[in-house]
C-alpha cells in the first residue's frame, strides 16, 4: 500500500517535471499513465497548423448567413500522415477492404452522378473544396488528411492504443483530500440545515415528510443527496437549449426563486459554443442542407410515428430500408432498429441470455447494459475495465467452476463491452478482447453507442478502428442519437439472430416502433457518411471530427490537466475532482459563452467529478482555439493543472 502511494507520488513528480522539460525540446508523451520521453521533434503548435491549413477554399463557409465551418480538415502535414501507406499498419488491409466495398457501392450507384460532375445535387458539397478524385478509385485516400496524435514517433501510434490498462491518471493526494473534505463539509452543512429546518419549520424541503403510516417516498441518502448537494448546483444541468444542437447553440438562461430548488426559464438567452452535445459528425450544424430535403417528405407520407409496435403495424418501408443500410454499413447480415438506444440494450440482452447464463461485463459499462443484464436474470460478473487479461482470468475461472453451487456448465457466456466508454472517453481494446473471446468460444456483444460513425477511417466504428473483422463480433449494437442526429438504436448480427430478436425482444414485439421521420433522417445521414450521396461530405466530417478531437486533447494535455481517455476519441474528460469545481467550471464556462458538460455523482464515482468535452465535426478550428482559450482561463482560475502540480 505504502509502496503504491510512493509510486503515485513519484508519478506526480514526473508530471511535475513535464512542464519544465517541455520547453527544452524533449517530447514527452503521457501514455498509459506513465511518461515516455522522445528526444527531438517538439510537439507541433497550433500556429504551425494554422499555416498548413492555407487552402483558400478551405477557410470559411456560410451556413444560413453565419460563418459556421472552416475547413480545418486538411490538418497537419506530418510525415506519417502524408504517407499513410508507409506505415505498417493493420488498417492497410482494412482500408483495402473498405475501399473495395465503396467501389462496389459506387458502382451500384453509378446512375447517381459523381461528385465532381454534380455539385449542385447536394448543396452541402460546396462547403468543401471540390474533390479531385474518388478515393475508392485511387487507393489510399489523399485529399482528407487525418491528424495522427503521435505521428512523429513512427510505430508508436500505428496501432490503436489501449492494449494495456490505465489511461487514467491517478488523482493527486491533494485533490483527494480536498475533495473528501469538500463533501464532508457539504454533508455536514446539509445535516445542520436539515436539523434547523425541522426545528424551526423553515426548510424549503418540509413537504417531503410522508403522510402518517407511509414510509418516506425517498430513502434518506437518495433524498439528502438530491436536496442538499444536487439542488445547490442544479443550474449546471438541464440548461434548456432553444436552437439546433450544433457547434453553436442558444441557451435559455434560468432563474430560481428558491435557491435552485426550482428553475424557471427566462426570456434571456445566451449564445454559446457547444462542447456538450453528442453531435459528433455535425449533422445538427448542416441539417438544413444535408438532411432536410430527405426528411421532410416523410412527414407528408407518414405521421411522425406509427403508434404501433414493429411486429404489429409499426414497420414502414423506411424501417426496412434503414435496416438494410445499417446492416451493410456495419458489415453484418441483418439489423433491427429500436425506438430508443437505452431500450435497445435493455430489451435485447434479456432476449439473448437468461437464467443459467453468464454475462461478463466491463466495469465501466453503461447503465442501459446494467439494466438489461439485471432484467435478463443471468448472472453478471465484471472484469477490470478494458483489460483483456482480466477478462481471460474471469472467463477461465467461470468456465472451470461452472454455475455457482450446482457447478453445472454455463448455458451461454456473453461478454459485453463498449466501443467508446462515454464517461471515460476510452476506446475499447477490441482486438485483445476478441482474441480472448475467440479462444474461449464465448459470445461478444459490443455497444457502439458512441463509436459508430465516430471511429474508423470510414466511420464504421470500433471494428474498423481496431482492425477487427465484424464477423468476430456476434452482436453489434449502436445508437442513432449521436453521430447520426436521430434517435433510437440498432442491433446488427447474423440473419438468424435478427429474426429471433424480432420475435423475442420486447422492444420489437411490444414497444412502439422508431419514428418514420427519424428513420429517414438516419438513412440520409448514413448515406452521407458512406459517401453514397455522391459527395465526400461524410469522409470530411469523419476526418474533421478526428482532427478536432485530437487537437483538443493534445492541447488540454499540454495545459497540464488530468485528461482521461484515448486519442481519436471525441469524448475528452478533464478531471475537476472537487465538488465546488463542478459548479464553478460549469458556471464560469457558461458566463464565457462555453456550453460544456460537467459530470459528478451518480454518473461517476464520487471523487472523480469531471468535465466532459465532446468535440464535433461541426466545430471550426477557430472555434476549437477559442474554446481552448476559455478553458485555459478556467484552468488557471480553478487550478486544474493537476498534471503539473499536485495542487492543480
Amino acid at each position: 500500500m505504502e509502496q503504491k502511494n510512493r509510486l503515485k507520488k513519484k508519478r506526480i513528480l514526473h508530471f511535475g517535471d513535464l512542464s519544465l522539460s517541455e520547453s527544452s525540446g524533449v517530447r514527452w508523451v503521457i501514455s498509459h499513465g506513465s511518461i515516455m520521453a522522445f528526444p527531438g521533434s517538439p510537439p507541433q503548435t497550433s500556429g504551425e497548423e494554422a499555416t498548413t491549413t492555407s487552402s483558400p477554399a478551405a477557410t470559411t463557409a456560410m451556413t444560413n448567413g453565419k460563418a459556421r465551418r472552416s475547413l480545418s480538415t486538411s490538418g497537419r502535414t506530418s510525415r506519417a500522415a502524408a504517407t499513410p501507406t508507409s506505415r505498417s499498419n493493420p488498417f492497410a488491409k482494412l482500408r483495402r477492404l473498405s475501399s473495395r466495398k465503396s467501389t462496389t457501392t459506387s458502382a451500384a450507384d453509378a446512375r447517381s452522378t459523381g461528385p465532381s460532375s454534380a455539385p449542385a445535387s447536394s448543396s452541402s458539397s460546396h462547403f468543401f473544396p471540390p474533390v479531385t478524385s474518388q478515393p475508392a478509385q485511387t487507393g489510399p485516400p489523399a485529399p482528407v488528411k487525418i491528424d495522427r496524435p503521435f505521428s512523429t514517433v513512427a510505430g508508436l501510434r500505428d496501432m490503436p492504443k489501449s492494449y494495456e490498462r490505465g489511461h487514467e491518471v491517478p488523482i493527486t493526494w491533494f485533490a483527494a483530500i480536498t475533495t473528501y473534505f469538500g463533501y464532508a463539509v457539504l454533508i455536514l452543512f446539509g445535516h445542520i440545515r436539515d436539523f434547523f429546518g425541522r426545528l424551526f419549520g423553515m426548510s424549503r424541503y418540509l413537504a417531503t415528510s410522508p403522510p402518517p403510516g407511509y414510509a418516506p417516498l425517498l430513502k434518506d441518502w437518495e433524498n439528502f443527496y438530491t436536496r442538499r448537494l444536487y439542488h445547490r448546483i442544479r443550474d449546471c444541468w438541464e440548461r434548456p437549449v432553444c436552437s439546433a444542437p450544433g457547434g453553436r447553440i442558444t441557451v435559455v438562461e434560468r432563474d430560481s426563486p428558491d435557491g435552485n430548488k426550482t428553475m424557471l426559464m427566462t426570456k434571456r438567452t445566451r449564445e454559446c459554443l457547444n462542447l456538450g452535445s453528442y453531435n459528433y459528425l455535425g449533422f445538427a450544424d448542416d441539417w438544413q442542407t444535408s438532411c432536410k430535403s430527405h426528411v421532410m417528405p416523410t412527414l407528408d407520407n407518414f405521421n411522425s410515428c406509427l403508434c404501433s409496435a414493429r411486429m404489429d403495424l409499426g414497420t414502414s418501408r423506411e424501417h426496412v430500408r434503414l435496416e438494410e443500410l445499417v446492416a451493410r454499413y456495419v458489415g453484418k447480415e441483418a439489423a433491427l432498429v429500436y425506438n430508443m438506444g437505452f431500450g435497445t440494450n435493455s430489451t435485447t440482452i434479456p432476449a439473448l441470455v437468461g437464467r443459467g447464463s453468464l454475462i461478463i461485463s466491463d466495469t465501466m459499462n453503461h447503465s442501459s447494459i446494467v439494466a438489461g443484464s439485471r432484467a435478463s436474470g443471468a448472472l453478471v460478473r465484471t472484469f477490470v475495465h478494458n483489460d483483456a487479461a482480466s477478462l481471460e482470468r474471469v472467463l477461465r475461472d467461470a468456465i472451470a467452476r461452472g454455475m455457482p453451487r450446482t457447478h453445472r456448465p454455463w448455458r451461454k457466456i456473453l461478454v459485453m463491452v463498449e466501443g467508446i466508454y462515454s464517461m471515460e472517453g476510452e476506446i475499447c481494446n477490441l482486438k485483445g478482447i476478441v482474441e480472448v473471446v475467440k479462444r474461449y468460444g464465448v459470445y461478444l456483444y459490443v455497444d457502439e453507442a458512441h463509436s459508430i460513425g465516430a471511429l474508423g477511417e470510414t466511420g464504421r466504428g470500433i471494428c474498423e478502428y481496431a482492425g477487427v473483422d465484424p464477423a468476430d463480433v456476434d452482436i453489434l449494437m449502436g445508437t442513432f442519437t449521436k453521430s447520426f442526429g436521430g434517435m433510437g438504436g440498432y442491433i446488427a448480427g447474423d440473419k438468424a439472430l435478427i429474426q429471433y430478436l424480432r420475435r423475442a425482444s420486447a422492444g420489437s414485439v411490444y414497444h412502439n416502433s422508431l419514428s418514420t421521420l427519424v428513420c429517414s433522417q438516419v438513412y440520409r445521414a448514413l448515406r452521407v457518411i458512406m459517401g453514397e450521396d455522391g459527395t465526400d461530405t461524410g469522409r470530411r466530417k469523419i476526418a474533421a471530427l478526428r482532427n478536432n478531437s485530437n487537437h483538443m486533447r493534445r492541447e488540454l494535455i499540454k495545459m497540464g490537466c488530468h485528461v482521461y481517455g484515448d486519442y481519436d476519441s471525441p469524448i475528452i474528460p478533464v478531471m475537476l475532482y472537487n465538488p465546488t469545481k463542478i459548479a464553478a467550471f460549469s458556471r464560469e464556462a457558461f458566463m464565457r459563452g462555453l456550453a460544456v458538460v460537467v459530470v459528478g455523482f451518480p454518473a461517476t464515482p464520487i471523487v472523480l467529478s469531471r468535465t466532459r468535452i465532446c468535440v464535433s465535426a461541426g466545430h471550426t478550428r477557430k472555434e476549437i482555439e477559442r474554446a481552448l482559450e476559455v478553458i485555459e482561463e478556467l484552468v488557471d482560475l480553478l487550478r486544474l493543472r493537476y498534471a503539473n502540480n499536485v495542487m492543480g
Partner: protein
Amino acid sequence: MAADPSLGDSFIDLTIALEQLWQQVRRELSRDGVKEWLLGAPARYKKWWLHLVEHAPGHVVVETALILFIIWLIFLRKTVDPSKEDSFLSEKEIDQLVEEWQPEPLVPGPDPAWDEEDAQALVVEEVDGTRVVVNGKKMINMASFDFLGLAGRGEVKEAARAALNKYGCGSCGPRGFYGSIDVHVMAEQAMAAFLGAEEAISYSDAASSVSSTLPAFAKKGDLLIADEGVYEPIQTAINLSRAQVRYFRHNDMEDLERVLREVAEEDRRLDRNEREQRRFIVVEGLYKNFGDLCPLPALIALKRQYRYRLYLDQTFSFGCFGTAGRGLAEHFGVPLADVEVMSVSISHALGSVGGMCVGTSEVVDHQRLSGAGYCYSASAPPFTSSAAMAALALLEKEPELVTKLRENAVWLARALGKIPGLEVRSQEISPVLHVGVAKAVSDGWTREEEERVLQAIARACVDAGYAVVTSKYTLLDVEAVSKGGLLPEPSLRLAVSAVHTRAELEGAVEAIRRSAAGVLKKHAGGRKGG
C-alpha cells in the same frame, strides 16, 4: 507485583509507587537474574516433567495425545473446503475444461417458418388518417394505437415541421447535458397543467418511461403488490426494482384485499413497522393485454385503508377516458392526488413519441437523477415534443374526440359481439379490443390452434383491405408459460380511433365476419378430416 494497596491516592504517592515498581522490575530483569533463571530452566523443566510422569501418567498420555492432535489439526490435515475445492485445478485441467465446454447456440437456429413470416410482414408505405397503404395495398387501419387520430392531423404535422425547421432532427444528448430543448420543458409543463399535476418528466420512449419510473422509487426491501395481468414494461420494472412482489388475480379487488390483509397480518406477526417499507400497488389503467379498465374507486379505497401508494400506468388510458381525455381518474371522478405516481404516454393517444411521468414535484424531481431512462439516455428529438404539445392543445380544444372514440369503441364491440364464432373479451368502452374464438367453438383446441386460426382471420382481413393484427407475445413470454408464466388468451387485437367513420367500422366488422366464417369453416373441416 501488584501495586501496594496501602498507597494513598495523592499524586505523589502514585509516583513513589511507580518508582518502587520500576525498581523491582529492574531488579528482576537485571542481567544476572535473567541469566540465572534462563540457565536453570531446562533443569527445572526436567524436574517438573519427571514429577508429572511419576505422579500422573494418565495426564501425560492424554495431554500428549491432545497436543499431537492439535498439531495435526492445524498443520497436517488437508483442508477440504467445498467452496474452494476447484481452486486446486491446475492450469492444464482448466484448459481441458475450457476445451470440453460447449455453449448453447446464442439463439435458436434459423427457422424456415420465420423466413415465410418475414416475407409476409406488414410494411406500411403511406399513412393518411385511418387509411394506410400496406404492402402496396390500400387499407383501413385497425391496428395502430392512434386513438384520437391526432398523429395525422395537420396542426400536429405542422408543429413537427416547424420544430424540424428550427431544431433539426436529433437532440444529440441526454436531458442533463445540453440535450434539453426548450420544447421538452414546455411539453412537460403543458402535460402537468393538462392533468393538474405539479410537474411532469418526459422520457423518450413510452415503455422505458414505465420501466424506469418504478425502479426509481421501489428498491430492494420494498413491497409491490401488482396485478398479475400487467404488461411487459411493468413486469420489467418490477424485475429491475428488486423489490419484493406479490400478485393478485387480474382486476379482482377481493383478491387484492386478501393479499393486503395477508401482508398486514404478517406485519403483526413479525412486529414489522409498515413505515419501514415503501409499498406500492401497481396497476394499469387500461390493460393492454385484456382491454379492461382497472376498478379505480375500489382500488383507491383499499389503498387508503391499508396505506399503500398507487402506481397507475395510463399508457393506454390517457386521452381515451374521462370527459376531456385526462384518463381513468377523470373517468371515475376520483381526485388525481390519490394517484401518487402516474405514467402517461404521448406515443398513443397523442400520436407522437415518448412517455411521461406526472406527480408531485418530489416524485418528478427525484426521477431527474434516478430515472435510468431519463438520466442515461438521449432525449427524444424536439419535434416529438412539439407534436405532442400540438396534439394536447387539440385535445383540449376538442374534448368531443374522446366521446367520439367511446361511441366508436362501444359500437364496434357490440357489432363484433354479434359475429358468430367469435367473442369480444375486452370491455365495451375499451378502445383496445380483444376478440377471440368463442369458447363454444374453440372447445378442446390447443393454444397454437387458436392462434393459427386467429392469424388466418387477421390475414384474410388484410386481404380484404382491413389492417387487423393478432395480439403477439415474445418468444420468451411464450416459453415462460411452461414455467408457470401467464399469457393472455390469444386474440385479434383491434384498435379503434375517434376518426374512424361508421362506414369504415361497418366495413371492418363485415370483413372480420366473412374472414372468420371462412377460416372457421375451413378449420372445422380440417379437424374433421384430420
